[in-house]
Symmetry: C2
Subunit: 250 residues, 2 copies
DNA sequence: GACTATTTGTCCGTATGTATG
DNA sequence: CCATACATACGGACAAATAGT
C-alpha cells in the first residue's frame, strides 16, 4: 500500500480559479456581507484574466447566491449574506426533475415538524409560546377571510416552532420543503368545497400540539404534529403511497 | 384592498432569459439527460444574442448542475441527470458561512437517522437487511485495518438504512449532512488514542439498531439510532451545547 | 434638473488548445 | 497526420444604468 497518491490533473478553467479565490475569501470571513468586490476591470487586473472570464466567474458566484451585481453600480458586486435561496432552488429542481413524489415531501415534513416540536417542547421560551398563540389566533380570524391568510398564519405557526427548536437546519429545511409542498397542493386546498371545516379541524389540532409543547411533553407534541400533518395532506396523496406516511404514525 | 397587482418590473438580463428557456426545457422533459445542447454558435443564432451572453448562461446552468461542457466537444454541452451535488454544495456553504455549529449538524443527523430507522423497520426488504449485515461485517474487519475503511463501512450501513426508508429526501440529506460532519471531525476521531475501543463499541450499538430494524420495532430502532449517534459524536460537541442533543434522547 | 464619469451589460473579432473523424 | 468544429480565453467597442457634481 501507499505510494505517491497523485491527484488527477484536470484542466481547471480560469473562471473556476477566480470563483475559488473569491469563494474562499467569503468563507474565511475576509469578505463579509455588505462589502463590495472590486469592479470588473479591477478584478481582471488583479487576477490577470480578461473581462469575459471575470464575468463568467461573477455569474457562477451569483448563481450560488454569494454576490449580486447591478448595472452601473460604481461600488462593484455586493457580497450577500447567505440565504437558503440557492438551497431552495436546487431542492425545487430536485423535486421537479428527480421525480420526488408528494408523499415523500409530506413524509419529510412530518419528520421535520415532529422533531421541531419535540425540541421546542423542551427548549421553548415564553416569548415563543406567545408567538405560537398569536399565530393560532390569526388562523382563527382568517377562517372567515380567505384561505391565503389562513395559510400564511399556519406557516407562521410552524415557523415559530421551527425557530423554537433552536436548530437552523431544521428551520431552513422546513421552510424549503413547506413552500414546495404548498406549490403542489395550494390550489387543490383553496378549491376544496369543505375548506372551512378543514380549517377549523386543523386549528383544533394545532391547539392540541401547542398544549403539548407548553406542557413540555415532547414525545406527545411530536406524535400530534405528525398526525396533524397527515390528516391535513393525506387526501392529496395517492392511496398507494399513504402506507409510507402511516408508517410514521406508529 | 384588491386592485391590479402589478409585478415589479425588473430589467431581466439577456443571459437570464436564456437560462430560463433551457431550464424549462429540461424540467419539462424536452431535454433529457444525455442529450446535447446545440453548440454555442448555434445557440447565439437561436436566441439572437452574443457569444458572451450564451457563455454566461451556460456557466449558470453548469453551476446549477444541469449541464456540463468540455472544450472541443463537437456535440455541445451535455444535459446531466440531476444529482444532489448542487444541494450538497449549497448546504456546505450554509454550514461554513452561516455558522452552523457541530451540535446542530449532529442533531440533524440524529433526526434523520432516527426517522430513517423508524421507516426502515417497517418497510425494509430481506435484501436490504442483508446489505446492513454485510456493512457491519465490514466494520468488524476494518477495526484491525484502518479508521478510513471503518468509516467507509459505517457510511455504507447508514446509507443502506436511508435507502430502506424509501424516502429520497431523507437519503440525500443524510448523505449531505454526514459528509459535512465527517469533514469536521474525522481527523479528531482518526487521532483518538482509544480509537479501537470506540469502534468496537460503535459496532455493538449498530448491531442493536439492526436487530430492532429486523424485528420491525421502529420506535426502538429510532431510539437506539439516536443514542448511537450521540455516544459517537457527543465528545466532540462543546459541553454547553450537549443539552440540545440530549433533548432528542427523551 | 442636467451633466459627467464610471460601471455593468452586451456585442464583435480573433487567437489558441482540444476532440472527432 | 490532417482538417474540421468546438470550447476557452483575450481585447476592443458601444449602450444603458448609476452616482456624484
Amino acid at each position: 500500500m501507499g505510494g505517491p497518491r497523485f491527484e488527477p490533473v484536470q484542466a481547471v478553467r480560469a473562471y473556476e480559479r477566480v470563483v475559488e479565490q473569491v469563494e474562499e475569501a467569503i468563507e474565511r470571513g475576509v469578505l463579509t456581507p455588505g462589502q463590495r468586490l472590486p469592479s470588473e476591470r479591477d478584478l481582471m487586473v488583479q487576477f490577470s484574466v480578461s473581462r469575459s472570464t471575470v464575468r463568467e466567474a461573477l455569474r457562477v458566484l451569483q448563481a450560488r447566491g454569494l454576490v449580486r451585481s447591478r448595472p452601473g453600480d460604481p461600488n462593484g458586486a455586493e457580497v450577500l449574506a447567505f440565504s437558503p435561496a440557492t438551497l431552495h432552488k436546487s431542492m425545487s429542481t430536485l423535486a421537479r426533475v428527480s421525480e420526488l413524489s408528494l408523499a415523500e415531501l409530506v413524509q419529510f415534513r412530518m419528520v421535520l415538524d415532529a422533531s421541531a416540536n419535540l425540541l421546542a417542547a423542551r427548549l421553548r421560551t415564553e416569548e415563543q409560546l406567545a408567538e405560537m398563540d398569536a399565530a393560532i389566533a390569526r388562523m382563527r380570524e382568517a377562517v372567515e377571510e380567505s384561505y391565503e391568510s389562513f395559510s400564511a398564519a399556519d406557516v407562521a405557526f410552524h415557523d415559530a416552532v421551527a425557530r423554537a427548536s433552536g436548530n437552523k437546519l431544521i428551520q431552513i429545511c422546513t421552510d424549503v420543503v413547506r413552500s414546495i409542498v404548498l406549490d403542489l397542493v395550494s390550489e387543490k386546498i383553496a378549491g376544496a368545497s369543505d375548506r372551512k371545516a378543514l380549517m377549523l379541524e386543523s386549528i383544533g389540532h394545532h391547539e392540541e400540539v401547542l398544549a403539548a409543547v407548553r406542557a413540555g411533553d415532547g414525545p406527545l407534541a411530536a406524535r400530534l404534529a405528525r398526525r396533524t400533518m397527515y390528516d391535513y395532506y393525506a387526501v392529496y396523496v395517492p392511496e398507494g403511497e399513504r402506507p409510507a406516511l402511516l408508517a410514521l404514525l406508529e
